[in-house]
């Protein structure tokens, strides 16, 4: 292995939200910082940088990971999806819609991360129990909602009629 100093940049290329990107970063640059600062995708948030709050969660080859616990260089060659990539042709992902309908967010800071973990859960194809939804969510902190609306929003996409409808 060659000796890199912290400031020698490494070349990185990966696919983000279906777009191929090429860039350079110091080996120590966090994936979360790279996504936000170098790629300008500020929908991925940073709330603790020590892997507890979950607000930096992105999909890495389809798996929900905390981008604050990965280096950008580790993403080389992978497929990353962030909240900006959830809508398809301007159509919201069903979870994005249900979060609004079930009042699953207030300040919205935790929301992108929670959406990404929920998408992973949904994509697994298995219908989760409410307890499983809660356990998945226990990897995320939301200080606004008390989680009730979030749980309902996720249930709504997995189990219809679990959430009371908004007015319009």
């Amino acid at each position: 292995m060659s000796n890199l100093s912290v400031q020698d940049k490494v070349k990185i290329s990966f696919s983000i939200n279906g777009r191929e990107i090429e860039g350079e970063a110091e080996p120590r640059k966090l994936l979360s910082d790279f996504i936000r600062e170098d790629l300008g995708l500020t929908g991925t948030h940073v709330g603790c940088e020590h892997g507890v709050c979950g607000s930096c969660t992105v999909l890495y080859n389809g798996k929900a990971v905390r981008s604050c616990l990965m280096f950008a260089a580790q993403a080389d060659g992978s497929e990353i999806q962030t909240v900006e990539g959830l809508a398809v042709n301007g159509q919201e992902h069903p979870l994005q819609t249900s979060f609004t309908e079930c009042h699953g967010l207030q300040c919205g800071f935790c929301t992108p991360g929670i959406l990404m973990s929920s998408v992973e859960m949904l994509n697994s194809g298995e219908e989760p129990t409410t307890q499983e939804i809660k356990e998945m969510l226990s990897g995320h902190l939301c200080r606004c909602t008390g989680y009730k609306g979030i749980i309902e929003a996720i249930e709504k996409v997995c189990k219809p009629n679990a959430c009371k409808e908004g007015e319009n």
Partner: protein
């Protein structure tokens, strides 16, 4: 069609679920922004001998390093509402007084380099004895933190209402207790963030920050910066990632970064990290309370004596010591207690400074008060509900003036209580509990009655001063808020508010209110919630705190919308040749009440004001742009007897909570949490439910898990989310929320604030429930959080004592 009161979906959500929200760290409003990292004190209490910054300054990419001495040369200490001369700068000067206090700021090309440079700074300290506990700080023996004050007591007031002496003379029993409330924070998931730029040519600061007021702090900042008020422009981002009061504490950093930008000549950006946030942002006060109740055998409470001491940390800073006085007007809670003595004390210790937090002062206050209701009933051998009912205000007593001057505007407390008892089947539970005890299972039921103040009166904060001291300056009163409704030449409606929401959906509710007033679709209205102190309609009380949007912010919006409506009606009246009183506005047009066919479109009336002022009736100005400022006359300054109505509206919360305690492990399981609310007219039931659940989660966290902990040397122990435990989805119990509606007679929409009530109630209701469950073991909870180890040792000690 009325939109107020409907569970409309939020207009904020589309951007927030798609990653298009704009939070502080997402902003890059200027070229050449440089990044800050802060070196912080590892000591609780120490003298700074010397700071060596040369090595750090040499690191490529570093622009410079700023220390306290340089900052002090360009600023004044922050003013604060007490008489003692505590010198508080945004960075340590000569001494450090808590772990995490800023000692030096590095500015570099990027954050990574700035943090590298921190490790190259060498600071020589001389450690001093720390003061950690409130009771130590109260003693004259303790090391003094601020030499110029000469004591660690920074505020001390006595209050006496009614005839306390008689009340205690006439009592059958006098019951005394002491309680501790821990230091907790609300830890918004987004940390603090600031961008500051100083322009020399204007001697002016422009500061972007996720700061949400109170804008009284604008004057505190300009005083520190020594500039005229219009030379400090504060701009907030479109979105703020939660606060619950905590982010008002970003203000010292706004000043710090402003000065750093001035010294180094570049715009600077600082984004706080989580460890910084936990150790050095802001929190609630920890409090020790001593309470004495004079009671009759039948449970009637004749009088109360309360003494409490709040720990404001290393420095007292605005708006402290307001935590002591926020609940002053509702100090006797939901009860008819006319005789009251209060001794309020604020002390400094070597912990982080405190400030606004959801519930502000309420959790600390209701913990002793509502614990006492259970203790009194136990002492007298009465059912706790009987004791509560005996003292609980009745519907007929409203509006009710409390001993301290609070004016409870409306309510039906007994109805709320009865609703709770029905929904939990109180009698059935008592049976179940007896059975459970027999089988070695410990079930408990706790209650709490909370009068929830909302919409703070600026005047209450001056209770920190004696009437004589107050008389020396201008009285303070009111709760003013502004809003602007404008309609552009093509009919587009824009509303500008200064309530600086941090997730509470003010844009949505504002659109609902204006849509109702102007008869349009709320989706067509654009609400601008970003605050800009140079262009927004604001006043000292502006901002987001004390649940003031529903009673006050929304009222300002309502009044501004009424002004626009009246103008449009007058224009239409002149067009239609009909008196304005005979017109109605709905579905995008103004029409004659009794002849709906006859009317003009809103667009046309608006168009006239812009495109053809010649056609306007006499005395009507062109354009449509109306600002209203709103306050409530009940928000008066305190009088010479310290009588004050500290909040404008008072809601009510009644909680009934069932728990099971595992005496082998000390673990508390919440079986059912029932909460009854009365917040007057509800503006948007969806948002209401979200606020209640959020407030409850905060109260629950404080009750069960959270504490900013320090060791005996003042070393900070909870610097990560692994140590400071916030509730996650698996910890939230089943919650049943029910409402009754006693509209406020004093607000235009009948609304009261809400969202803080359960933050105040949850800690004490859980303590009551646990105490009830452990009744056979004679365990009485007087301290939080209810962590398994604490409960276990309480049970264990009791058992060993008994054996």
């Amino acid at each position: 069609m009325s939109y107020i009161g409907k569970p409309l979906k939020r207009v904020e959500d589309a951007r927030l679920v798609s990653g298009e929200g704009t939070y502080m760290d997402d902003l890059s409003p200027l070229p050449n922004i440089h990044h800050a990292a802060i070196l912080r004190s590892p000591h609780a209490h120490a003298k700074i001998i010397q700071i060596h910054t040369e090595e750090a300054e040499k690191l490529p990419g570093v622009i410079g390093v700023v220390t306290g001495e340089q900052v002090a040369a360009l600023t004044r200490p922050f003013p604060v509402g007490v008489r003692v001369p505590v010198k508080y700068y945004p960075i340590a000067v000569e001494k450090v007084r808590f772990v995490g206090e800023a000692v030096a700021v590095v500015i570099a090309k990027n954050r990574y380099i700035a943090e590298d440079a921190l490790s190259l700074i060498k600071v020589e300290y001389k450690a001093l004895d720390p003061v950690v506990h409130i009771e130590d700080a109260l003693s004259e023996e303790s090391t003094v933190l601020h030499e110029e004050v000469g004591s660690n007591i920074v505020n001390h007031r006595f209050f006496n209402y009614g005839n306390v002496e008689d009340a205690f003379k006439n009592a059958d029993r006098v019951i005394r207790k002491k309680f501790h409330f821990p230091k907790v924070s609300a830890t918004p998931v987004e940390n603090y963030g600031v961008i500051a730029n100083y322009t020399k040519s204007e001697d002016a600061y422009t500061i972007w920050a996720n700061f949400h007021g109170p804008f009284t702090l604008h004057s505190v900042m300009t005083a520190a910066l020594k500039v005229p008020s219009n030379r400090l422009r504060i701009i907030t981002p479109k979105d703020i990632g939660g606060s619950y009061g905590i982010k008002s504490g970003v203000f010292p950093y706004m000043v710090l970064m402003g000065v750093v930008s001035r010294i180094l000549g570049v715009p600077v950006k600082w984004t706080e990290d989580r460890q910084e946030h936990l150790s050095a942002s802001s929190s609630g006060t920890d409090r020790v309370s001593w309470i004495e109740a004079a009671v009759k055998k039948d449970g009637t409470i004749l009088g109360l004596k309360m003494k409490y001491a709040d720990n404001v940390g290393g420095y007292i800073r605005a708006p402290e010591p307001a935590s002591l006085y926020r609940t002053h007007s509702n100090a006797t809670g939901a009860y008819r207690i006319k005789n009251l003595e209060v001794e309020a004390i604020a002390v400094v210790t070597n912990k982080s400074p405190t400030g606004l937090i959801r519930g502000y002062g309420g959790p600390q206050h209701y913990f002793p008060l509502e614990r006492m209701m259970q203790i009194i009933s136990e002492d007298l051998g009465l059912d706790v509900i009987e004791v509560i009912k005996k003292n609980l205000l009745t519907k007929e007593e409203f509006p009710y003036q409390t001993a301290t001057g609070g004016i409870y505007d409306s309510g039906d407390y007994h109805k709320a209580l009865n609703l709770a008892l029905e929904s939990i089947d109180y009698e059935g539970f008592k049976q179940k509990q007896k059975e459970a005890w027999k089988n070695g299972k410990y079930l408990g039921l706790g209650f709490a009655c909370i009068v929830e103040p909302s919409g703070s009166n600026m005047g209450y904060i001056t209770l920190a001063l004696t009437p004589e001291e107050r008389a020396k300056s201008l009285p303070k009163s009111g709760c003013s808020e502004g809003a602007t409704v404008s309609i552009d030449p093509q009919g587009g409606i824009t509303v500008r508010i200064s309530t600086v929401p941090t997730g509470q959906g003010h844009e949505t509710v504002t659109a609902q209110i204006v849509a109702d007033a102007l008869g349009v679709d709320p989706a067509s209205i654009r609400v601008i919630a970003e605050m800009d102190t140079v262009t927004s309609p604001w006043s000292v009380a502006s901002g987001s705190y004390s649940s003031r949007f529903a009673p006050i912010g929304s009222s300002a919006v309502y009044q501004a919308a009424q002004k626009v409506k009246n103008k449009l009606l007058e224009i239409a009246a002149s067009q239609l040749n009909v008196p304005a009183e005979e017109l109605v506005i709905s579905d995008g047009k103004v029409s004659v009440k009794n002849d709906p066919e006859k009317g003009v479109s809103l667009k046309r009336a608006v168009g006239l004001a812009h495109w053809n002022p010649e056609g306007l009736p006499n005395g009507i100005e062109p354009g449509i742009h109306e600002t209203a400022f709103y306050t409530l006359p009940v928000a008066k300054s305190p009088n010479e007897k310290d009588i004050v109505n500290g909040s404008v509206t008072y809601g009510f919360v009644f909680d009934a909570v069932q728990v099971e305690v595992d005496i082998e492990t000390g673990e508390v399981k919440i079986i059912d949490y029932t909460t009854i609310h009365d917040a007057g007219k509800l503006l948007n039931p969806n948002i209401v439910e979200g606020q209640i659940m959020g407030g409850l989660a905060h109260g629950l966290g404080a009750a069960m898990y959270e504490e900013l902990a320090y060791d005996e040397r003042g070393q900070f122990l909870t610097g990560s989310f692994m140590d400071y435990l916030c509730p996650t989805a698996t910890e939230i119990p089943k919650v049943t929320i029910k409402h009754i509606e006693s509209p406020s007679p004093i607000t235009p929409l009948g609304a009261k604030g809400l969202g803080e009530g359960n933050t105040m109630s949850a800690p004490v209701v859980l303590a009551n429930a646990v105490t009830d469950a452990l009744k056979p073991l004679h365990v009485s909870i007087d301290q939080l959080p209810l962590s398994p180890d604490r409960i276990w040792s309480k049970i264990h000690n009791k058992n060993t004592v008994k054996m």
